[in-house]
């Protein structure tokens, strides 16, 4: 083996050594990092799935779109308004009957399991005798 190597041309030797250096300096670290990230990813997936199963959600979180969000929220609440604030930020206003407040809490709890979105800042509530209006700012993930 060593003799074969010795008998090869200098260009071949340089190519082999370059390959060896790249293998140890680039390929192996990339492989290690890749498999470590795969483990991390699988762990996160398991965690999310475990939480989703508590709420009987089976599908993965979808990317946030105004239309889809509005449609799914309208089924639960009286009125849903969404106004874009800036790129990937939206002001959401949801009007509901007082007795629907529990549904709203569950809706907030499961929001990030259904859409890749997060609530930024505070929830603001305003209530009168019959209705409650909730306002929040959503940020796309």
């Amino acid at each position: 083996m060593v003799e074969k190597f010795k008998n090869t041309s200098i260009v071949t030797k340089i190519l082999y050594i370059l390959a060896l250096i790249l293998f140890f300096a680039w390929v192996i670290p990339s492989m290690v990092s890749y498999y470590s990230n795969v483990n991390k990813y699988e762990k996160s997936v398991n965690e999310i799935e475990k939480i989703s199963s508590k709420y009987a959600l089976t599908s993965e979180a979808k990317p946030f779109t105004v239309e889809a969000f509005k449609e799914s929220a309208k089924v639960l609440f009286s009125k849903v308004d969404i106004n874009p604030l800036s790129t990937n930020r939206y002001e959401v206003s949801i009007k509901m009957k007082r007795e629907d407040i529990k549904s709203f809490h569950t809706f907030v709890e499961t929001l990030s399991l259904r859409y890749l979105v997060q609530i930024d800042g505070a929830l603001e509530f305003k209530a009168n005798d019959e209705d409650i209006e909730a306002k929040m700012t959503l940020v796309k993930l």
């Binding site: 293998f23 990230n37 990030s112 929830l123 603001e124 209530a127």
Partner: protein, 433 residues
Amino acid sequence: MQNQQYVTITHYKEREFYFLNYAIQTKDGFITKEIEQFHESEKEQFIERIRNLQAKYPKNQIISLSLSANQIVKDKEDPNQASARIFKENYVVQEKIDIGNIPVTLYFSPFAILYEEYKHKLDNKLTLMIGLFDRKLYIMFATEDKIHQSWTLGTRGLTEKQVADRVYKSMKAYYKISYKFADHIEMLVSDDSPKLLKVLREELSMTILPTQKTIHNLLHHMGAEQSRFVSSYIKSFLSASPQREVAATPRVDEVAPTLNETSTLEESALHSLDDIRLNSPIDSASSMNNGVSFLDKMKALFTSSSLSTEQVVESKPVNILSFLPLLFVILSGGYFSLQNTAIQDKALMLESQSYAQVNNSLLAMTAKDVFSSMGKSAELKSATISSDNIELKGVVWGIEPLRNSLNALYNDGEFVIKPLENFMTEFSFKSKV
């Protein structure tokens, strides 16, 4: 009486054939017998035939030729390699001798044969000596006192023009290091190559007087006299191996005096065969252990490479397969890098999603607690609920139950009540979460 004759048995391998010949050595020269040819699949018969000849002629030398491409001429003997002295200051060196189990007592380099053939012609002018053996050119730049440079050029698959180009390039390469061109060229060919000679003459614009001799005849000539071969054969572990029939020393001592009465004791001392250097794996290993460190081994890899590059640069084209390891590494590295970037992005997204989920759950829990704490004691009018603090406002009719309920959740909160004009009471509550 036949068995008292000194016989040189010569053999070499060219492509897939072994060629065998023997010659009866006399004072007037040698008388060759018919050349025998064996296919490599008939190796056993070939060895058997050598043994028969040995049995028939007890005074014999079995002579072969090293056609290895990586042999070079050096100024110093390399203790880790097989070598043969061909000038006072020059040694032909090659990695090791590997001839399988074929009997050999004398093993020559084409460089030694070239030197033997032309040494009487050498003077202080630079001579380029070219030997063509088995489609390889063995090239030496020499003067009467030493060999200045050597090259081995492969000619397999090349046209005569390309071969001539390579010879010319080797001359140019030598000119670059010594600023000298050869004054004349001698060429020893072991097979008939009139076209190559013609092209060489044209390309180099020099007169080349070729000598054409068969390898067998050259080897018979080398083995004819002890003074001729005593130092120039390649010394290897084969010569000293007791279990093999290749022990050169006793045979030389037995045979040589009958042929060369003129060899003096001084010459024998100078070219003593006692210096046979063992090149067996064990000896190599022990010598490595004794003086050659790992660093030296690594250096040797590259020292050898630089020399061989210079020596056989033309005969070692870069194989396309040499790129394969690098290609494989680049492809696998690229694949893992891309996959890693993709999985990193995915993992990051999931991490953000998990964080968002936790944050949203906390907000929902806080809101749930706040609304349930109102109970039948109050009615919430407005609330700001974040993960850091809460601010509530509403109408209360059961102050103490509400205060207790809120304090149970947030004990350091600020609970304020304010009577309204319509006989109702307003409350406000602020706290950190």
